[in-house]
Symmetry: C2
Subunit: 417 residues, 2 copies
């Protein structure tokens, strides 16, 4: 495992609004993200400068009946006839696109490439989306016995609770925290705190002159099945990321040319990727993801930094338990201590190790193939001091962690201002 032949920098990143957009196609959302990314490049960038594109997408095949959407997206943003390759690693599809883009630039073949992701999920009914996502599990074994992702992550959660004593309250803390961050992100699908949701519900019940439950606080609210039904115990609705339409785009440049586009590029100093058997039953332990440990070790080693050096991180919180495990696999905390750390506020925006300042997948939304590229947008803003009301002061070293399925694929990247 070697060293990049030349350095690669991030020179711009942008995204569409994440949400449910029945009137928009994936193509339109992609154009929205592309324009936002182009606008983020300080000194501007022309399409003629962009030599190739990598598009993360999990399954427009199933979601929209459209395979081969690389050249379609390239066409809609004016990049024909340049090379475009779709990459897929389930919900890490655009995380692996970052790595493909880095190697394309470092190899010497290209000076500037576009890395991106898109997913249009809401055309299907909810049950159809659940089935489509289940295609990212091992369908020979897991899907036929009725296991879809909430069930698989619930299994992971109970294993973590049993082995380490992780509590329900700790799970809920992740959702509360991430909604608190997402409430400050206008691109988020659910730009609202859990507390606000509770108060809205109280107002609605009062308006209808119905009985208002005696909720002491948002945690109490989250244990009420009328407000937050169980999806797969111990996971309730607000432990699960939503079904989302969205796209995100970023531009990578060889270090030699990056300064032409911005005085403040971010240097991509670490890249790691790993795999594990998609089927849970093939693994010795459910409480940690081998692919994530592998990817993060690789990225830390390449970057020459330690977990404690990372100042801000976007991690893959498709379910609340996933964030707890992510912070352990990334070695921010010891195995079994991720839940406690969240509960103590360490991963809050004003804590020692802010995680998912964007709102994470939970609040910002999870258009699966675009989520990894969406994480890049937040790190771009945070490390450049452009994150507005959710800015963490003075951060210069950030990380993205993007997982596919229950961990079959994981990509980790480290960025330095």
């Amino acid at each position: 495992m070697g060293k990049l032949a030349r350095g690669v920098a991030l020179i711009g990143a942008g995204m569409s609004k994440f949400g449910a957009f029945p009137d928009k196609t994936g193509r339109e959302l992609f154009v929205e993200a592309y324009i936002d990314a182009r606008n983020s490049v300080d000194n501007g960038i022309d399409n003629k400068d962009i030599e190739a594109m990598f598009l993360g997408n999990f399954s427009s095949d199933i979601f929209e009946g459209q395979g081969h959407n690389g050249p379609i997206m390239a066409d809609w943003v004016g990049l024909i006839p340049k090379p475009v390759t779709r990459t897929e690693g389930a919900c890490a599809s655009s995380g692996v696109a970052i790595r493909a883009g880095i190697t394309a630039v470092a190899s010497g073949l290209h000076e500037i490439v576009c890395i991106s992701g898109v997913e249009k999920m809401t055309d299907l009914p909810t049950a159809g989306v659940t089935d489509a996502l289940a295609a990212a599990s091992d369908v020979s074994y897991e899907f036929p016995v009725g296991a879809t992702f909430p069930g698989l992550y619930a299994t992971i959660a109970t294993a973590h609770m049993k082995k380490y004593g992780t509590t329900i309250k700790q799970l809920r803390t992740i959702g509360v925290k991430n909604h608190k961050n997402g409430a400050l992100n206008s691109k988020a699908q659910f730009s609202v705190t859990i507390k606000d949701l509770m108060e809205k519900r109280i107002k609605k019940l009062k308006d209808k002159e119905e009985t208002v439950p005696d909720w002491k606080d948002e945690y109490d609210f989250l244990e009420d099945p009328s407000a937050n039904p169980v999806i797969a115990w111990p996971l309730r609705l607000y432990d699960c990321s939503p079904i989302t339409d969205g796209a995100a785009v970023a531009f990578l440049a060889a270090e030699e040319v990056a300064k032409k586009y911005t005085d403040t590029p971010l240097h991509i100093i670490g890249s790691g990727q790993g795999s594990v058997q998609p089927a849970l039953h093939d693994r010795a332990d459910f409480t940690s993801i081998l692919a994530a440990r592998e990817a993060s070790n690789m990225a830390y080693k390449m970057a020459g930094v330690k977990p404690e050096d990372i100042q801000v991180a976007e991690v893959h919180d498709c379910f609340t338990i996933a964030e707890i495990i992510a912070t352990e696999d990334l070695r921010f905390f010891k195995p079994g201590e991720g839940g406690k750390a969240a509960e103590e506020g360490i991963t809050a925006r004003d804590g020692q190790k802010p995680v998912n300042t964007s709102g994470g997948l939970k609040s910002k939304g999870h258009p699966v193939g675009a989520s990894g590229a969406g994480q890049v947008v937040e790190i771009w803003k945070q490390l450049r001091g452009e994150a507005g009301p959710r800015q963490v002061p003075g951060v210069e070293l950030g990380l993205t962690h993007n997982v596919g399925g229950t961990g079959g694929t994981c990509a980790v990247h480290i960025y330095r201002r």
Copy 2:
């Protein structure tokens, strides 16, 4: 557009048998190909040496209900927890995997990577496969008006006939030639000549004491609808590549380490990739594919060779007209002269410019995501003098040309012994 930071060599390549295998899964075919590829490495190769994998696959999502098959294939061949990325560009899915593998090695990140492709198509009924493949067209415009690939390529064929006077006989020549080559390839799905097919049919009719049509030769046979029905005029059954299950695998190494594995590596001296709008109606001309011209120009330039230097080529003959256009886009022949060149035997195995000595997609089979990697296997054998009865003597410079959809994606690679 730059120059590779370091050279990349092909050190081994192998494939499963191509065909229809109702009793085998995509995973099993992949293992078969992987073992064949490992066995092709002269001095042997261990899994520990292989640092990452790129898997071309068009849509196991639709064909097998399995997305996220990168880590599944990696698991079945023992490459967990290494990075594995699925690449997709319709029927060029493994052609673009080659390029991804090249950049991964040239970037310095990896010394040796596996590039590969797999598709398991025959689990669906034929109409289902036709619909699945149509997902590689522009489904917002082309599929709703009933256009599937035979119809789209028939449109391309009639445009070529009208513009250049390309004849029906020239189309049929491609099929006759490729079956003649494929008859010498034991891995081919239809390892039989058209003449043999005709003679078998004559024997069968005689055995049943039915009337035997007065077929003068195989070309006459191919115009008889009872033997070769029209699929979409002017394309008949034997103008269309079959529906196929199969997998192919190759190993790429940094030039510095290649010699450890074989005294006769192939040097990958050219890589090109291009895109065009998937929808035919967006193009000014149907008789040439912009993506292929772009990809081949890029590859020739990088390799520092000219079209006339290429001694053996595997091109994307998903339909007979596609091979004619491929040989023009690659500038082997002037626009409009590809059909005539085939008719004159120039592209025959013993001609000046042998094309599809493996049998091509037409006879060898077209497991779409594996076809590009399958082409690599033939070039590996030809340039090393290991192609047995179909060996072209003394060839040292070869090319692969892999197209997705009606040309939305194209990847071209050039190899020197």
